[in-house]
Amino acid sequence: MIFKKIFYARKINSFVLGLVLGCLIVGVYSTARAYMTGQKTLGASVVRTGSLDLKVTPETKLFDFSGLVPGETTGEEKITLENTGDVALEYRISAQPATADDNNDLLKALKVKTNEYAKDGTLLVTHYGRSTKYLSDLTNSAVTEIIPAGEKRDLGIELSLSSTVGNEIAGKSTNFNFVIDAVQQGGSF
């Protein structure tokens, strides 16, 4: 029993000794370095970073629709995204109520469909085509198309009101913002 205690105490002491020795080596190495140095100045060198910038049109009021009824659609409205930076970018889109009051039954009853268009304007892909996505759930929705530097792409958004909603949403209004998050191609959001 006593032998065991001595044995484990010795192991712990060795661990502590190793730790202290390691710290000493690191300390001495980092404080007592001396080198032969020389300095030569070369001509001015320029390192320029790439820039990521995005211009979105329209800047406000993509939707301003009154008198929507169940089963009706707003029609498609297009956002034009222009990559004004010098790196390719990818982006995602979210919808957020403007205020807590706007997060009402109407916002939760609006369905959303998005259309991605190619450079030449042809339709590439439709998301939520079967109108399975509610606007209130449009959070960080990834867009497939990557926008190369200097190019534009259109993103179409169409809202509709479910035909199953009742009169409780009649006469209501909701205000909301679209938020577009862009990152350099291959970057993480």
Partner: protein, 150 residues
């Protein structure tokens, strides 16, 4: 294992703890966020004025012209609402080809409860058809009961 070897292992472990630090991998990239504010959607109120058969006929035609199938369901009689849910009604009209509606005659009062009006419905394929629009009085409001081809 002899105790001396174990001691060496513990000593090496102590050195390792000193020199090997946890590796943190982080990603950094350029990013930008743009907001499109001030979007607004509002819905229609449930307010249809149906005090007379003539006014109701015009309301029905206006709703057909604006393809407001929900509104058409709201001005429909109890019998129509018992036969179709709102969704069924809207979806069935949603696939129709109706372009516009025009009232052709004043209502014929068949009784205090029933009237009919002649309307002309035009379709997107440029054809048109005449119908009788039947209205039923429910608690002072003339509601759409149905249509019958002439």
């Amino acid at each position: 294992m002899p105790p001396d070897n174990l001691t060496k292992i513990f000593f090496m472990f102590g050195l390792l703890v000193t020199f090997v630090k946890p590796v943190t991998v982080s990603f950094a990239n350029f990013s930008k966020t743009v907001t499109i504010p001030q979007n607004k959607i509002s819905t229609q109120t449930v307010s249809f004025d149906l005090p007379s058969a003539k006014k109701s006929s015009q309301t029905v035609c206006d709703l057909l012209n604006s393809q407001n199938w929900w509104g058409l369901y709201q001005v429909s009689s109890t019998e129509v609402k018992q036969s179709f849910t709102q969704e069924e009604f809207i979806n069935s009209f949603g696939t129709s080809d109706i372009k516009s509606c025009q009232i052709k005659t004043d209502p014929f009062y068949l009784s205090n409860v029933w009237t009919k009006t002649e309307i002309e419905v035009s379709y997107n394929n440029s054809s048109s058809k005449l119908y009788y629009l039947a209205l039923k009085n429910e608690e002072g409001n003339w509601k759409m009961f149905g249509t019958e081809a002439r």
